[in-house]
Amino acid sequence: MSDYIVEMKHITKRFPGIVANDDVTIQIKKGEIFALLGENGAGKSTLMSILGGMYEPDEGEIYIRGEKVQISSPNHAAKLNIGMVHQHFKLVEDYTITENIILGVEPIKKFAGLFPYVDIRNANRIIKDLSKDYGLEVDPTKKIEDLNVSMQQRVEILKVLYRQAEILIFDEPTAVLTPQEIDYLLTIIEGLRKAGKTIILITHKLDEIKKVADRCAVLNKGKLIDVMDVKTTSTKQMAQLMVGREVTFESEKRPAEFKEEVLKVDHLTVKNEDGFEVVKDVSFSIRGGEIFAIAGVADNGQVELADAIAGLTKVSSGNIFLNGKDITNESVRKRTESGISYIPEDRQSYGLVLDFDLATNIGLKEYYREPFSKGGILNKEAFHEHGSRLIEKYDIRSGQGIKTQVRSMSGGNQQKAIIAREIELQSPLMIFVQPTRGLDIGAIENIHKMMIQERDKGKAILLVSLELDEIMNVADTIGVIYNGQLQKIASRDTLTNNEVGEYMMGAKHE
């Protein structure tokens, strides 16, 4: 019998116009944490989807515990004790945690010995216990729609554990989590390993790999580049292998030159759909040439704040001024025209029309004006020209160029398309919400460079990020938000990581 619990040999998977996996061979030992690294679109998700039974490979063989298998479905994968935690959660929003976890493997009891029914009560108990065992505490009777992202992720993990998975695949589990949540998740992953599980971890964050992984495979354009021992490899080396060039982690940045005030937010209060105040009396301003970053743990009102400034959400009180003009009640269109670019948090349901092609999506904000249209008539040429230029400039990769349906692009490249479009608007105010989420380090580096470039051109930039590193890296001024309130506004240089972290947790007040 072989030493490996998972062996994927010579796996090739093609999609129209692209070879997502090209003759990839990886072998994973029982009880190790195995990391997968690679640029956006390198084929990591595809490879793991094959292991998880979502896709069947065009070529190649898979051995689990030394036995050759053909994994035909997720169900089959589950039978082989393989479980996958997807980045895009597959949860029924309307259901409770328990209902989600037991879906497909429902415990059945009979009423009056005749009518079978799903025994939710018992399942609640089992899940309560299970969640305690792994330190993933949840309230099994809560509905998914009431949970935040990290809780939802716990549900996904519990789902896999409930099915007694031995091999756990995590596809970018940390991309949506706060630093604290990430730390917690990593301990859980280590705990899982202690419990004898084998773990495959896809991530773009090298320090996470360094922290928990034993070995790491690097993919590039579908090909396996190398598999290395994490202990003996530096993050720099990993990054270099992956991107193919040297990567600097700190962005080079000149001291800021602040100009006129561009954005002024004055005592802004925003309510959510349920009438709950999610942004409370927030005031701040951003000058040209300034990167103003809002730090905070997820769901503390930062997204609503950005939406309110961009005009997607109604303001319940307070004012917003752009270049001195009150835009509080202006339409989205007016705001865009008066000079706001916006990279929204939810790229798939807001930032893009997934069923349209890339060129159309890149023109999404300017379609109504010249050169994209004239007198109400569209100019397709202009869309194509513009699209091609940006694809080139921002290195957006896809199967069929500007004609690619955006839905088929990898998550990272979808994000790049939005960023390209918004930066090219050259608005005086640019709002970036989580611009680098899910991007590979090479791409992150590029985006950071671009943000700084725009700042140096005199643009005002509002950055909302959950990643403290990113904020400390590029911000000139930091505002920390907690529970809808700005706790602290200060220059980047006067703050330390720790301080910001404390404000973020609401532990410290001004």
Binding site: A310, S331, R333, Y342, Y350, D355, K365, Y367, I377
Partner: protein
Amino acid sequence: MSKRNDTQKEKFIQKVGRVLAWPISHEKWQSISIPLYSILLSFIAAAIVILLIGKNPLQAFFNLLQGAGIMPKPSYAAYKSMFTDFLSLLNAMTPLVFASLAVAVAFKAGLFNIGVSGQMLFSGFLATIIVGYSGLDAMIAKPLVLIIGIAAGALMGGLVGWLKYKFNINEVVSTIMLNYITQYVVSFFIQMYYIDPVSRQSRYITEESRLTLVNVEMGNLKMDIPLGFILAIIVAILLKFVMDKTVLGYEIKTVGTNRNAAKYAGMNVGKNTVLAMVLSGGLAGLAGVTYYLGYFASIQPKVLSSIGFDSIAVSLLGNSNPIGVIFSSFLISVINQGNTYMSSMAGIRQEIASVIVGLILLFSACGAYLKYKVSRMKEKDAERKEGQE
């Protein structure tokens, strides 16, 4: 041994599949070839049905074409010819084109306008009572009929859009409700004030207000000239242009595909929703006036035209593409128009015609599947080739 047989059989099936799929394998032509293919399949199915009841399908189809004025009949009544038959085909087709366009526009905006029938009736009724009995001059009456038709339909469509946008009322429900309400209210007014006791429907409108010139004598022919038909073609082309080439079309499509993104892009979602329904209703209104004041000249109380529902399917058959809609309406109209003659000549019950229409629609509903299958097949082939290299 049996395994080998199986693979051989499989291979054979694949081969057959590929041969069958060949005509529709060219992606560029699929938007045309797939509907054609579906139609072909449905005619084969219909032929089988006709064979089953012991008649000759080829003769039946030929009679269908004769009846519709596409092929010459052996004999004609006085003042009739293939040409007059063809004109009546166009006459009957006109409302169907408009109605299907109405459905298509709403569809592009992500809305299902099940209320085309009601909108048709409402606008037809208003035009009838305002212009139809007014004795106005043709030069004024005809344009006025069109305007009232568009306005009434647009009003009702707009109401649906507004209810949807303002109160989140599902347009399927509101249009169904409005269909009933219109049907009963119009019926009430007709019965009370506009009834013709002989025909038992609304009194005939004046020749001047009618959108079809009836019994126009030319040579030894008397023909019905559907003025609305030309308009229908123009409107379809215009609509195609609007949908593909203009900002308005782009906005409607974006709102229809992803409302959030549309809002984000600065489009006014509410305005576009209402606008799309206004447009759709306006087209339905045109269908209404060309139906009640063109093809017919009076209104049957308490009857909703089935065109409103047929058009949903016709618009699909035409791929929700305005030009496609012209062709699909043509096809369905040929069947509907030709069926009296077919029944008379081939002795096949008219219901068969409805069954054929049903089959065509059934098969064309599977167009997406055909496309999917073919592309899968091509992928597989491509892979196999690469594998061999």
